[in-house]
Amino acid sequence: MRKEETVKLISAEGFEFVIHKDAAMVSQTIRNMLTSPGSFAETEHGEVTFPEISTTILEKICKYFYWNLQYASGKQTEFHIEPELVLELMMAANYLHT
């Protein structure tokens, strides 16, 4: 993974997830952040901090990004969500416009 192709997502607790840009751009919000013509801090450094998203949720989100890519490319599997995460996950989804 070359650096230009990746983006670093940082959770509220400071955990860093390095994932492909393609995957991260499943989120409309992140897509806008990374493609906005003006250079925001995120675009320049290639890292985004989410002070409102906990590590557990962010991890689940990253998994979802990759699952989504696979799903879109035709591999139809189930995406398992633990019931206790559902609410927080939904808030995050609303925020990330996923």
Binding site: N32, S36, G38, A41, E44, M91
Partner: protein
């Protein structure tokens, strides 16, 4: 987790739990306002998208509606403030720089707007649809339009500058097309109505004025060809302009303007322009100019109609001159050749310049049909032309070329209305060709007949084909004759008889002449042989059509073979016994009809180089008291001497009348047959319809005269094929 699903789960349950800081709205706004300022100042790198986005999300998720509206309005004012700044700086830009400044600011604004939109995306997603406010991006564009473009100073200036640039480009200057394109694109981005109202409308008006003046100037100073060239170039320029920096939808509009101003309003003048208009182009074969005229005039309504009308009128005119010119009538071959040349010329024009337009071809055809039939002798001349070609014109020409010539003739034939007249003449000429053995190629003859057959049907050519069959059987008969009785003949003259079926051949009833005794004997032999093999037939001699080869010895012992007609042979044979004969004596001895005898004597005695007879007194014409001598001093460098009869190739006036009359006679039964055919199927029909139907049926062969048709109907009524209806006198009934 599709978008659909998530919408259903708008997180409302959480609302009451969050304690909203009353100052939160203000705080949010401060941050956002700051961000917008920074963005406009190109200083965004210090901003965190996530942070801003989080604020917006939070604000629009938890704030009350009232506060949100407040936020919205605030945002509008901030942007307006910035745009006003921009507007001022644009207005301040001097001259040339104005557009560049505008362009640069526009690019900035666009970029900023996109960033703001991204930040406020959450608002676009949730707040805007539910409150029917304008989305951020659109709002930004609208603000730009209202504040910058429609500011009192900029609006007029922008328009003037753009039009000025276009004008400069039209006058040949090079302008910055990229800049132009950006500005136009900006107007289009602001909505098609902005582009149309602020630019296109004025642009079209100015263009119309420009081209009106220019075309006026051109038309005063240029000839038609040059004018068209200029118009075409202008049109190309405008299209290029559109493709470079205008909206593609403007192309139709601007070309329309050019077409209207440069072509439509000057159409008539161009076509009729003296010494360079359409007619002159046609005369001078200016295919390029004609093609240009075609492609330009095609663009405007009625353009081609004018071109076509003028062309048709011109062709008709020239054609009419050609067919009615008495000079031309002297030489039928030349006459037809000219027609063909004319046709070729226009075919080429239509092919090269008019894109093979069907309507033009039709116009050409109808013109030809019109003027060819103006001259009642066209059928005769066309047949004579074919005759000439098949006698000598096509000698040594390749088969394909023969086909080409024949096809062309067929094309003229198609234009003829009186096809039966052509048939009549063609038959005569074909008979002469066959009997004198002058046909260049049997294949060509047959191919022409096949063509006629496909054109007019079997009926038309059956007799012509009969003539070919007769020629063939005659050959066999002669073989049979010589193998059967050849030994009895000894060294008497060789005879070649062609037995012709009456009816198939155009025989003229002619008085038979007295054949010399030697010939007569052989003829009698043949007659008895032929009637012996075929019973129930009658043979009569057509002495006016034959030829003979005579071996002659002249005074100094030089020998020649003379190729002469049967009549001439009869005359020459008389000189075997004596050297001097008077006209009266010859007439008595041969009993050749006076007109034919005169003609044949003329060719024997008066043609220089072929005068095997000497006449007293020496004069051009034959008089009844002339005397003839055998010309001992005759010399020729050829062994074989062909003595042609002085034939009137063209029919003389009385002959022509006679043929006409025969044609009219032939038409009667055809018309009657058509009437009977129609009535048999219809039983009852009124007069006008009969005439129409008959005309339709016979059109392939000739155009029947209504008066003649009426006469035929009357004759049929007399003979009780038809009767008039008792109540309605206009109705006819079919009897039997």
């Amino acid at each position: 987790m599709s978008a659909q699903k998530k919408r259903n789960f708008q997180i409302e349950a959480f609302k009451h739990r969050v304690v909203v800081d009353p100052k939160y709205a203000e705080k949010t706004w401060k941050i956002l306002e700051h961000a917008i300022h920074e963005i406009y100042n190109h200083n965004a790198s210090g901003l965190s998208f996530e942070e801003l986005y989080r604020f917006v999300t939070f604000a629009y998720t938890y704030l009350t509606d009232g506060l949100m509206v407040f936020l919205h309005i605030d945002r509008v004012t901030t942007m307006t403030y910035h745009l006003k700044e921009i507007s001022k700086s644009i207005e301040a830009a001097q001259g040339e720089l104005f557009l560049e400044e505008l362009n640069r600011k526009w690019a900035d604004h666009n970029k900023a707007l996109q960033m703001i939109r991204d930040i406020l995306m959450y608002m676009d997603r949730t707040f805007i649809p539910s409150t029917h406010k304008t989305p951020v991006h659109e709002l930004g564009l609208n603000l730009w339009r209202d504040v910058v473009i429609h500011s009192s100073k900029t609006q007029a200036r922008l328009l003037d500058t753009l039009l000025e640039l276009v004008h400069r480009e039209r006058s040949g200057e090079v302008i910055n097309r990229g800049l132009m394109r950006n500005i136009i694109k900006m107007l289009m981005d602001l909505g098609s109505s902005v582009y149309q109202d602020d630019f296109e409308k004025h642009f079209l008006e100015v263009s119309a004025d420009f081209y009106r003046c220019e075309s006026q100037e051109f038309i005063e100073s240029c000839d038609c060809g040059n004018y068209l060239k200029k118009a075409e170039r202008r049109l190309m320029e405008e299209m290029e302009r559109v493709s470079h920096y205008l909206d593609a939808r403007s192309e139709a509009k601007i070309t329309n303007v050019v077409e209207k101003e440069m072509i439509e309003s000057h159409m008539n003048r161009l076509v009729h322009m003296e010494s360079s208009g359409l007619v002159n182009m046609l005369v001078d074969d200016k295919y390029d100019d004609l093609g240009r005229m075609y492609s330009l005039f095609r663009r405007v309504q009625n353009g081609l109609v004018i071109v076509r009308d003028v062309m048709t009128a011109y062709i008709r005119d020239t054609g009419k001159q050609l067919v009615t010119d008495p000079e031309r009538l002297r030489d039928p071959v030349d006459f037809v050749q000219r027609l063909l040349d004319l046709k070729d010329k226009y075919d080429k024009v239509i092919n090269l310049a008019f894109n093979n337009d069907k309507t033009f071809q039709n116009a050409l055809n109808s013109s030809f049909e019109y003027f060819i039939n103006l001259n009642a002798r066209s059928p005769e001349f066309i047949s004579l032309f074919v005759d000439d070609k098949l006698r000598k014109g096509l000698r040594g020409v390749s088969e394909e070329d023969v086909e080409v010539v024949l096809d062309k003739v067929m094309m003229l034939f198609r234009y003829l209305q009186e096809k039966d007249v052509f048939e009549k003449y063609y038959k005569q000429h074909l008979a002469k060709r066959l009997l004198s053995g002058k046909t260049v190629s049997d294949d060509a003859e047959r191919s022409l007949i096949v063509k006629l057959k496909t054109e007019c049907g079997y009926q038309f050519t059956s007799k012509l084909e009969g003539m070919f069959t007769d020629m063939k059987t005659s050959q066999d008969t002669m073989h049979g004759f010589y193998s059967a009785v050849g030994h009895q003949l000894g060294d008497s003259p060789t005879l070649a008889v062609q037995v012709l079926t009456t009816g198939s051949w155009p025989t003229q009833p002619s008085a038979t002449c007295n054949l010399p005794a030697e010939i007569l004997w052989v003829c009698e032999k043949f007659k008895s042989y032929y009637l012996g093999t075929h019973t129930g037939r009658r043979l009569s001699w057509q002495t006016n059509m034959g030829t003979a080869d005579l071996k002659t010895t002249f005074g100094k012992g030089q020998k020649h073979e003379l190729n002469v007609s049967t009549y001439q042979m009869c005359v020459l044979m008389l000189f075997n016994n004596t050297d001097r004969l008077t006209y009266k004596e010859i007439e008595q001895a041969t009993e050749i009809p006076a007109s034919d005898l005169k003609r044949c004597l003329q060719s024997l005695a008066c043609v220089k180089g072929k005068n095997v007879l000497r006449k007293e007194p020496m004069s051009k014409d034959i008089a009844e008291d002339d005397a003839f001598f055998f010309n001992d001093k005759f010399t020729s460098k050829f062994f074989k001497v062909k003595i042609g009869t002085v034939v009137a190739q063209r029919e003389s006036e009385p002959e022509n009348q006679e043929t006409r009359q025969r044609v009219e006679e032939d038409r009667k039964p055809q018309i009657e047959a058509a009437i009977v055919r129609i009535m048999k199927s219809r039983r009852v029909l009124d007069h006008n319809n009969i005439v129409a139907e008959v005309t339709k049926q016979l059109q392939v062969r000739f155009l029947p005269n209504p008066v003649v048709i009426k006469k035929r109907i009357e004759s049929l009524i007399e003979r009780e094929f038809l009767e008039r209806d008792k109540t309605d006198r206009k109705l006819y009934r079919y009897l039997a």
